[in-house]
Structure formats: C-alpha cells, structure tokens
C-alpha cells in the first residue's frame, strides 16, 4: 500500500466514524530493533498499515497482520486500541503507518470560530 492510498483510506474511515476533518493525520515510521516487541497505545485512534512484509507481526483490537500465520482467515491493515508490533527479523526493520488522531473538543470549537 502506498502512503497516498493509506491517507485516502484513513480519510474515509475517519469520516465514517464521525470525525470528519477533526483529526490529525500523522505518518508514523517505526525503527524496530531485532526481536523487539513494541506496544503502542492507540485508543481512540485509527492506524493504517503502509508496509507489507513477513518480517513483522502486528496485532490490534480487531485483528492481526502476520504473513507467517496459518490459522487466520483474514489479515488487517487497520488497527486501533493497544497495538503490539513484533519484529521477527534478525536485523533492523522499518515500518510505516498513517495514523488518525482525533482532535479534542476545544480544538474543534476554536476551528469553528
């Protein structure tokens, strides 16, 4: 998936979830050390996976992305809640997401003014 298409998907999904334009689109680029397990609190946020590789595993609230798994009938590119990222590779792995972070109510009100 390209960053452009991830941004487009994020825009549509945030609109469906009722945020419209009231969110910050962030590009997250992780640099994972060999065997590293990283946990990210993305509660109330929406993350779209950009990179595809069998070097890492990502699990979120509603599914997983792991090309090595054989007991899954679908892989997810959209993550929210507590996101767990595991680097399987023996070297450093780069991993990109596009994240939608909702704005606070105060910021929304200021924008209306």
């Amino acid at each position: 998936m390209t960053i452009d298409s991830a941004i487009e998907i994020l825009r549509g999904r945030m609109d469906d979830l009722g945020y419209r334009k009231n969110y910050y689109p962030h590009i997250k680029h992780f640099v994972l050390q060999p065997g590293e397990l990283r946990e990210v609190n993305a509660f109330n946020q929406l993350w779209i996976l950009v990179d595809e590789s069998s070097d890492f595993s990502i699990s979120g609230e509603m599914g997983v992305y792991d090309l090595t798994l054989k007991n899954v009938n679908e892989l997810k590119y959209e993550f929210q809640g507590l996101i767990r990222i595991k680097n399987y590779a023996s070297g450093i792995t780069h991993l990109r997401f596009v994240a939608g972070i909702p704005k606070h109510k105060k910021q929304k009100q200021n924008e209306r003014k």
């Binding site: 979830l17 609230e61 599914g63 007991n71």
Partner: protein, 169 residues
C-alpha cells in the same frame, strides 16, 4: 410498526488458536442492535476412540472423550465492530456453560431429560442499544480452547445479533 429480528452467524473453528473474521449483514430496515447472544457446540467431544478387543464382539466405548476440553470454560474471545460511529461496540468471552457435562454421550444423562432451559436449548441475550446504521457488522473470533489445550479443537460458535426493525403496516 416495530419488530425484532435475529441474524444468526455460525463460526466454524478447527485450528489451534484460530483467528476468524466474519461479517453479519444488517437488515436494511434495522434501527438498533438490541441484543447479542452467543453459544458454542464442541464437536471434538464426540470424537471417541472405540476399542474392539479381539476376544469380544462388543466394542467398548471409553467414558471420557479423547478431546475433552478438560475444565476450560472460556472457549474464545469475540469482538464486534460497526463501520460507523459505534466502532468496536461489543466484546465478550465465549463460554461453554456445559463443559462439565458430556451431553454427547447419551448414557451419561439418563436422569437429566432435556427441557426448555437445559442442555443449552434456550439462552438469554445480552441486552444493549447500539445504532444499527451500518451495512455490515464486522466480527473477529479468537480461539482460546485449542490454544490452551495445544491442539486443534473442532467446534462451532453461534452468534445471534438481535435487531429492532421498522416494518410497514
């Protein structure tokens, strides 16, 4: 006129730690999700080994099932997500309420006849009120039973989603 309607989804599980995604179609005239009901039917229990000794004509059936869940009541984890504002609106641990009883063996329950509220025949739904303004409800089920026993377990998870629907007079 308002009525209630249930959509039933059967989720077959056969692999250890299986993660299965599914979709529940929402009726066009659905207004609210008013309840969720879950159940489980373990098929592996019925997979008994039959031993036939050479000096006998009658097969001996062991009293304990080969793939008995062995006291694990939580069979898995279920989550439901709307495509619209409610987002992830439901999560539950699916339990086998009758894991202590082997109903697959008819000889085990001669004094426990089936009635309306026994043997998992009738269950109550979990009440909730969620806007049903979505085309599909996405769901994910994660196996716990097979993962805990470290072997493939074959069973079916039943999910009933109850809707309040608007019908014309």
């Amino acid at each position: 006129m308002r009525e209630e309607q249930a959509i039933v989804e059967v989720i077959p599980i056969s692999k250890q730690g299986e993660i299965r995604h599914f979709q529940v179609k929402v009726p066009m005239n659905a207004m609210e999700v008013i309840g969720i009901q879950t159940g489980v039917r373990i098929k592996s229990k019925a997979a008994l080994t039959v031993i036939v000794p050479r000096d006998r004509d009658v097969a001996i059936t062991p009293s304990v099932a080969v793939d008995s869940p062995g006291g694990i009541s939580v069979v898995g984890e279920l989550k439901l997500q709307s495509s619209e504002k409610p987002n992830v609106f439901y999560g539950t641990l699916v339990r086998d309420a009758f894991e202590e009883f082997d109903f697959s063996n008819p000889f085990a329950v001669p004094f426990f006849p089936e009635k309306d509220w026994t043997h998992g025949n009738k269950k109550e739904m979990e009440k909730l009120t969620i806007d049903a303004n979505t085309t599909v409800i996405s769901g994910v089920y994660k196996d716990n039973l097979g993962a805990a026993l470290k072997r493939d377990m074959v069973y079916e998870v039943f999910l009933a989603v109850w809707f309040k629907i608007e019908t014309k007079k």
